[in-house]
């Protein structure tokens, strides 16, 4: 009974937001004169083919990592907008290292992952240091660091001999050897593989949950986010916590480019996908920083991205999906706030209930409900 209510509590806000955004999208489609139901059913049909499902899983893997990176920061009110810069710098370095070193395959993959996490953390660490030592807002510094990262990447790939010509007129890091790739497994569709990194993303989600909810570090992190003053009084060193959280966020951000790098591209080129960081922010909001919520958010986002490919063929601008995604994020933020207020209010009423029956045996009833 209470479990069902809890689940309803969690689902109400996203469901409201998605329904609302469907209505908005339908209205826009209608304004364009498109057949709403046909468009939606085409998207559904295309999006549920085995090929699409595989692509969705792969895209969602990347989105998931990006959103977890952002969520770690959100948990203590730090806004890491620098995931873009962190993952691109990390993916380039990891690509270069994995392409140059000669090691037994799997070991090279492990090295690539560690290098990526280290570089991501390092780049986020710059913003953390600026915040703690100089009081510079991480919002500003991470945005600036994004631009600096882009500059560094272009320089390294174009001007140094770390970059080579991988394809005609495309410069990038040297191709990663066969054994170091995590190309994945053809589980759903015979022709397209699910990234090996899919499983790593699941592990990241589990670790994220465990660290957050079952360790002292996670408790300190959440306490700092809920009430910085109470956290300080409880003995949390807020500066140190800011640095740890930023480093952790950056380390996960470092992984964001790896599903594509080790699963499909095998080389970091100047055409490497560039904007996973911002998608991560949207999905972290949608998933309420919760590892399972983020997973659903990432899948939904990826589904919309992939299934929108069919729209051009239908004569409907594909950008309609971007509008839909935007509306989802905006309305989910509003919906969560409404649900949160409602929750606080209901709880107060429930306590009022227990107090009104002041002589009812409060303590035993609560033991029962546990």
């Amino acid at each position: 009974m209470t479990k069902i209510r809890k689940l309803l509590d969690v689902l109400t806000a996203p469901m409201l937001a998605i329904t609302f955004s469907l209505i908005v999208t339908a209205l826009i489609l209608a304004a364009f004169g498109a057949n709403i139901f046909e468009v939606f059913s085409k998207m559904y049909d295309y999006g549920t083919s085995t090929r699409s499902l595989t692509l969705i899983t792969n895209t969602a893997t990347t989105y998931y990592l990006s959103a977890v990176a952002v969520a770690i920061g959100f948990k203590m009110n730090i806004f890491n907008i620098g995931v873009n810069g962190q993952y691109r710098l990390a993916a380039m370095t990891a690509g270069a290292v994995a392409g140059w070193i000669s090691m037994p395959g799997p070991l090279a993959a492990v090295v690539a992952i560690l290098v990526a996490m280290f570089i991501g953390a390092l780049w986020a660490g710059v913003a953390a240091w600026l915040k703690v030592a100089r009081g510079i807002s991480e919002v500003i510094s991470t945005i600036m660091l994004n631009f600096i990262a882009i500059g560094i990447i272009s320089y390294v790939i174009v001007q140094t001999n770390i970059g080579t010509e991988v394809k005609v007129n495309v410069r990038g890091t040297p191709k990663i050897q066969e054994g170091a790739r995590l190309a994945g497994y053809a589980l759903i569709d015979p022709k397209v593989k699910i990234y090996g990194f899919f499983f790593i993303a699941i592990a990241v989600g589990i670790i994220y949950w465990v660290v957050l909810n079952r360790t002292r570090f996670g408790y300190d992190l959440r306490a700092s986010g809920l009430s910085p003053s109470a956290a300080t009084a409880s003995g949390v060193n807020s500066k140190r916590m800011t640095i740890y959280a930023m480093l952790a966020s950056g380390a996960i951000a470092g992984l964001v480019g790896l599903p594509d790098l080790l699963g499909k591209e095998f080389s970091y080129t100047l055409n490497f996908p560039a904007n996973y960081g911002f998608t991560g922010i949207a999905i972290a909001l949608l998933g309420r920083n919760n590892p399972i919520g983020i997973a659903f958010g990432a899948l939904l986002w990826a589904f919309l991205d992939v299934s929108s490919q069919i729209l051009d063929l239908e004569g409907v601008p594909r950008e309609i999906v971007t509008i839909m995604q935007g509306v989802i994020v905006l309305s989910v933020v509003v919906a969560y706030e409404l649900v949160r207020r409602n929750r606080v209010k209901t709880q107060q009423q429930n306590v009022g209930k227990a107090l009104a029956g002041a002589h009812a045996n409060v303590s035993t009833s609560s033991e029962g409900s546990k």
């Binding site: 809920l226 300080t232 003995g235 306590v351 609560s366 546990k370």
Partner: protein
């Protein structure tokens, strides 16, 4: 005819939450221009009733009459429109705005598209003058003490045109001379025709200020008395409230030992501009001793506590048991047995939007039963939370509700229970019974006395001078960051102490 004399009349108000009744057959008549007190235990339904009157909740049955007219409030703005304003127990002020900005926030005076600060300042000054509520309008709220903040809240409500003022535990945060000032201000308000309804736990004060007192118990009004005509004592009221006698904070016999637990030498805390807020104080607390610090709020008490906890930087030395802890971080101090009941529980002692059992961990997250090494141990933390809930009579349906769902008194009981857990050696407590009801207050005092007998050293700060004098083994008076006098709790009276606190006279 007599109806029109009532500023507020509540007739047979009922409020049900699913399955249970929070208010039933509540009847209340508040005469125009009177001060009407509502007293009752935590959970007696006072807050629900006030929320109904203030439009935050809607009654299921019954009528609300304001100035003789039956009204239905859908929201607090409906209430303020007919002149009903509320001053909350927890101030709702923006620290980084000035006093004037806070007062006009939400109902700004406009000149075209610009804010008319000059006009607003004039209006506010007029109101402040009329009711003798002078305030530094251009000062930032963060710079002001509790008494000033409360005056801002009152002024805020008056600025919105309230002529019926609801005050939720207005004296809970004030020291005697501030209370006197508040009561004088309330007297002025009354003489200007403003009706005052206030909720309080402090029965002596209620008797002093109120023209009429209504007692609530278990969701309903059990009676009204008129202290100006009838001869009622605090004991009478307490019995009406809980059917028991009023507890006293007095400790029986000295348990002071020779073992110094805390030795503070030349401790000073400075502001960024170099002003000493805590001005080179030295003192000792022994095992089994309660040292009380009396002072008007804002004379360095908060900073002294924060310095002892290592939350703010300080100079001087602090010796705790055999350790010199002067350079220890907060966590290490707490791990070694310093318990802390802070002044502002919502800011420093609670995670409002976290369940009670996670709040049980706060400040003790590195120790059993909350964690083992790197890992949290939620199961044992939960069962220990349940123990605290039972032992300290925290009124809550279960331990999974957010701390924000509890009333202030119950939050405080949880905090006291938490801080008394795990055998602390030293308790640093500010206002340990602030906002809790008579019964719970007695229970907290009992717990403190028992811990003291078992060798706990306590540094106590309290605005309740009876509590301070009753519990303490020795007293120090703090004024502008300095200890200006010592007092013997066996002979000193609240009046003498109050004078010493304001620098008016030396204590005994």
């Amino acid at each position: 005819m007599s109806e029109t004399l009532n500023a507020v009349e509540l007739v047979d108000i009922c409020k049900r939450f699913p399955g249970v009744v929070a208010n039933s057959n509540v009847n209340l008549k508040v005469r125009k221009g009177s001060a009407h007190a509502i007293v009752g235990e935590n959970g007696a339904g006072k807050s629900t009733l006030m929320k109904i009157l203030y439009g935050m909740q809607k009654a299921d049955e019954g009528k609300i009459l304001v100035d003789g007219k039956a009204l239905v409030f859908e929201s607090p703005s409906d209430a303020i429109n007919v002149g009903v304003g509320m001053v909350h127990q927890h101030f709702m002020l923006a620290d980084n705005l000035t006093v004037l900005e806070n007062i006009i926030l939400g109902s700004e005076l406009k000149k075209g598209v610009k804010l008319d600060f000059a006009g607003a300042a004039k209006q506010v000054t007029d109101i402040a003058k009329r009711y003798r509520l002078e305030l530094p309008l251009n000062e930032y709220v963060s710079e002001l003490g509790v008494g000033d903040r409360q005056r801002i809240e009152i002024l805020k409500v008056l600025y919105r045109g309230a002529n019926i003022l609801i005050l939720d535990e207005p004296t809970a945060v004030l020291v005697p001379h501030e209370v006197d000032e508040l009561f004088r201000a309330l007297g002025d308000l009354k003489s200007e025709g403003i009706t005052i309804i206030f909720i309080s736990h402090k029965l002596d004060e209620v008797l002093e200020i109120a023209d009429e007192i209504t007692v609530m118990r278990a969701g309903t009004t059990v009676g009204s008395v008129n202290p100006k005509i009838q001869n009622v004592t605090a004991q009478d009221l307490a019995e009406m409230m809980v059917g028991s006698e009023l507890p006293t904070p007095a400790t029986t016999e000295s348990t002071v030992t020779n073992n110094a637990v805390l030795v503070v030498n030349d401790l000073a805390v400075h502001t960024e501009s170099g002003k000493a807020i805590v001005d080179h104080v030295s003192f000792k607390i022994h095992a089994g001793e309660i040292v009380g610090i009396a002072g008007v709020e804002g004379n360095g008490q908060s900073e002294l506590l924060d310095a002892l906890l290592g939350i703010v930087k300080s100079s001087g030395t602090v010796q705790f048991l055999e350790h010199n802890i002067s350079n220890w971080p907060t966590r290490k101090r707490r791990e070694h047995g310093i318990a802390y009941i802070p002044e502002d529980r919502q800011r420093q002692a609670l995670l409002l939007e976290a369940p009670l059992w996670e709040n049980r961990m706060l400040g003790h997250q590195t120790l059993p039963p909350n964690s083992k090494g790197f890992w949290l141990t939620p199961a044992s933390a939960k069962s220990d939370t349940q123990r605290i809930v039972n032992e300290y009579d925290v009124r809550t349906p279960n331990i999974d509700v957010f701390a924000s769902a509890l009333s202030g008194g119950n939050q405080q009981k949880l905090i006291v229970g938490r801080e008394m857990s795990g055998n602390p050696k030293l308790l640093i407590a500010a206002h340990p019974t602030r906002g809790v009801d008579v019964g719970a207050q007695a229970a907290i005092w009992d717990h403190l006395r028992a811990a003291r007998a078992a060798g706990l050293a306590v540094l106590l700060i309290s605005a309740d001078l009876d509590e301070l004098i009753g519990l303490s083994d020795s007293l120090k008076v703090i004024l502008r960051g300095k200890f200006v006098a010592d007092a013997d709790p066996t002979t000193v009276t609240p009046q003498i102490l109050g004078n010493a606190m304001t620098g008016a006279g030396a204590a005994a």
